[in-house]
Amino acid sequence: MERYEKAFLAACAAVLVLFLCALGYSNLVLGAHLPSHDERVYCSAGQKLRKVLLKTPPFDHIGVREIAPGKYEAVLIAQIWLFTPDEIDLPVGAEVKFVATSADVIHGFFIPGTRVNMMLIPGQVSEFDYRFTKPGEYLLICHEYCGRLHHTMSGKVVVK
């Protein structure tokens, strides 16, 4: 290998390692976590996943509830082509844990303008913690194709 080539490749490797360190720092020190919750809901042939879900905690109590002072849990089920519930009300600054799953096909769970971005996969429970610091009305949209009326599947998060 030529000298210039070695220098170029060493610089490239250094930059990539630096990027990777920055990501590790944001994750471990700044606490930016990916949704990685692992919990499954099984449903055998002949059963309806939606019915199984409604008997499985926490999906037997859909909606928002305060689990500790200033801490909320928002439990949602996605199905074609709606979120239940389709509106979530939260006070400004509250910590919220979104717990959601799908009752039929794969859906998305995305609040534009925030980091709240996760996939809802039938048989898997998704969780994500977030704190809304600005009041306002936020869009909640399904951002994975889920059938012919996919583009109508949305809800809202109202932060007051």
Binding site: L9, A32, D38, C43, N117, Y145, S154
Partner: protein, 553 residues
């Protein structure tokens, strides 16, 4: 002597019958691209909230059109082009005929598979998009068709390996010619990478769509899809790298510098296959530790592309300087910009730099939460597959069609205009999608009828529509030039594949000859695949059915 090791220099032409099979692969690929591009126009305009899909014949919904666009352009076109192009480069570099039976079987398998999938998609029974995530269910002909298209690529690989084995017997102790090495490595990589999609389709989805099994595990199927779904990107890209490393230096009047560095870059793609989880960064059920490991491997696989940037740019610089260019950047303007084949591919390289950088952002672990499944993602991959790869196909076609037809290119000037138009069109289009995506504009969504929207999506949407329309015009110009070349190009003598020479020839002693022993790298790759995917897949076995299917909802 040096050229001998890139490709057999004494001249070799494939028998006409075999060249015809290659020709039909390439032409079929471009015919399919034409259909895909027509669909694409409707999708681009829908971001500008203009609905032209309603006037399309046969296609009844945005999502049906999007399925056709994705499957035809990303799977059928890319397989057809790679099959044809890399069979040609392999045969030429080894100066050997190919196995006739495999060649015929490959072409027919590709055609039949494509027709089956086309039937399912055109009849509206498979509007499941290019990713066909279960439990969205398609008609069985869709899954069977896709499986056959993949099998046609395996047949291509077999034809290459049969030729290589025969060549090795006749040339003991010699290094494999570089052009053949790159072409064969591409397919060996794909042979491993395609196992995921093959298992997903043949073991789960096809029997499920035929009613033989009751349900599927959506998480497992999705993971198998992405096992293939990322390295398929290398399968799109590496045939282009074969052209960039092996042909473009010669076309630009230069020469490739290092044989060894080129081989190392290709081998790294075999080694670093299991990166598919970076498409699942926001999935449940995959641990953060595994996700971070995958981010690291993904960053590692960026490395061979950076090697390529150096090698190819250096080869172009040699060309530019030989043609009288001087100074730090002066050589860049002296490369043969008047040759549409070179111009298109150099523009494609520029697009690929932007595509690569935007891809690195996608792959950046926690940053992915900002952009996952937003319009940013198609903004990124239209810079890579939609421009770096597609525009390179066009550039290659500008010598390949004249070569196969023994005719001159029909209008050089129009071809040049076409290439520049395509490049700038993609810049506008992708800028629109990326800007929209950063504002949370979703991908794969019919924006014409969406019941929600944000003001910040408006201008990006219009840019997407304008850029996409210009891409459509440019692609149509390409098809026009291609057809005119075939029917009305001036007849010429038979030419040759424009393969380059290298400055540093491959050593016959030392560690470098071991690079040609692909079996070592295949074994290492399989070990890494098992380490990354083994525990996850075991965690989903034995199969506990989670849900039944939804047939075309």
């Amino acid at each position: 002597m040096s050229t001998a090791i890139v490709s057999e220099p004494s001249g070799f032409a494939l028998p006409q019958g075999q060249l015809n099979v290659i020709r039909w692969n390439i032409y079929f690929g471009f015919a399919v691209l034409a259909v895909g591009v027509i669909m694409g126009l409707g999708q681009a305009l829908s971001y500008a909230r203009v609905n032209i899909v309603q006037y399309y014949p046969v296609v009844h919904s945005y999502y049906q059109g999007l399925t056709i666009h994705g499957v035809l352009n990303a799977l059928v076109l890319t397989s057809a082009f790679a099959n044809g192009f890399l069979l040609l480069t392999t045969a030429r570099a080894l100066a050997r005929k190919l196995n006739n039976a495999l060649l015929q079987a490959e072409l027919w398998t590709l055609l039949i598979g494509s027709l089956l999938a086309a039937y399912a998609m055109l009849s509206g029974k498979a509007s499941v998009l290019y990713t066909f995530y279960a439990p969205l269910e398609a008609h069985w002909t869709f899954y069977l068709g896709l499986a056959l298209v993949v099998i046609s690529t395996w047949m291509t690989s077999a034809a290459q390996l049969v030729a290589l084995r025969a060549w090795r017997k006749e040339h003991p102790g010699e290094r494999v010619p570089l052009l053949a090495f790159m072409s064969i490595t591409t397919y060996v990589m794909w042979d491993i990478a395609s196992i995921g999609i093959a298992v997903e389709v043949v073991v789960f989805l096809l029997p499920w769509s035929l009613g033989l099994i009751a349900g599927v595990d959506p998480m497992l199927d999705r993971t198998l899809f992405w096992f293939t779904g990322h390295p398929i990107v290398y399968f799109w890209l590496l045939p282009i790298y074969v052209s960039w490393y092996g042909l473009i230096p010669r076309q630009a009047g230069g020469v490739l510098f290092s044989d060894t560095v080129t081989r190392v870059a290709f081998v790294l793609f075999i080694l670093l296959i299991p990166v598919g989880f970076h498409h699942q960064f926001v999935d449940p059920g995959v641990s953060e530790g595994l996700k971070f490991t995958i981010a690291a491997i993904t960053f590692a696989v960026f490395f061979p592309s950076l090697m390529t940037a150096f090698s190819v740019m250096y080869a172009l610089e040699i060309g530019g300087r030989r043609r009288g260019g001087s100074g730090l950047v002066g050589w860049f303007f002296k490369i043969p910009w008047g040759d549409p084949s070179v111009a298109a591919q150099v523009l494609a390289m520029i697009a690929f730099m932007l595509g690569g950088i935007s891809g690195l952002m996608n792959a950046s672990y926690v940053m992915n939460m900002e952009i996952h499944n937003t319009a940013y993602v198609p903004g990124h991959f239209h810079l890579t597959v939609g421009c770096a790869v597609a525009l390179s196909y066009m550039g290659i076609a500008y010598w390949l069609i004249p070569y196969m037809e023994r005719r001159e290119l029909w209008s050089r000037r129009l071809a040049l205009f076409q290439a520049f138009l395509y490049f700038f069109a993609v810049m506008i289009f992708s800028r629109g999608l990326i800007a929209g995506g950063l504002e949370g504009m979703p991908r794969r969504t019919n924006m014409v009828y969406a019941t929600y929207g944000l003001p910040a999506w408006r201008i990006p949407g219009i840019m997407t529509g304008v850029g996409g329309s210009l891409m459509f015009v440019s692609a149509m110009l390409f098809f026009f030039i291609a057809v005119m070349t075939v029917v009305a190009g001036k007849k010429t003598e038979a030419g040759d594949v424009p393969f380059t020479a290298t400055v540093q020839t491959p050593p016959r002693i030392g560690w470098q000859p071991r690079l040609d022993r692909l079996s070592y790298f295949v074994a290492a790759s399989v070990v890494l695949v098992i380490a990354v995917y083994g525990p996850f897949i075991l965690g989903h076995l034995p199969l506990r059915l989670t849900t039944a299917g939804l047939l075309y909802p």
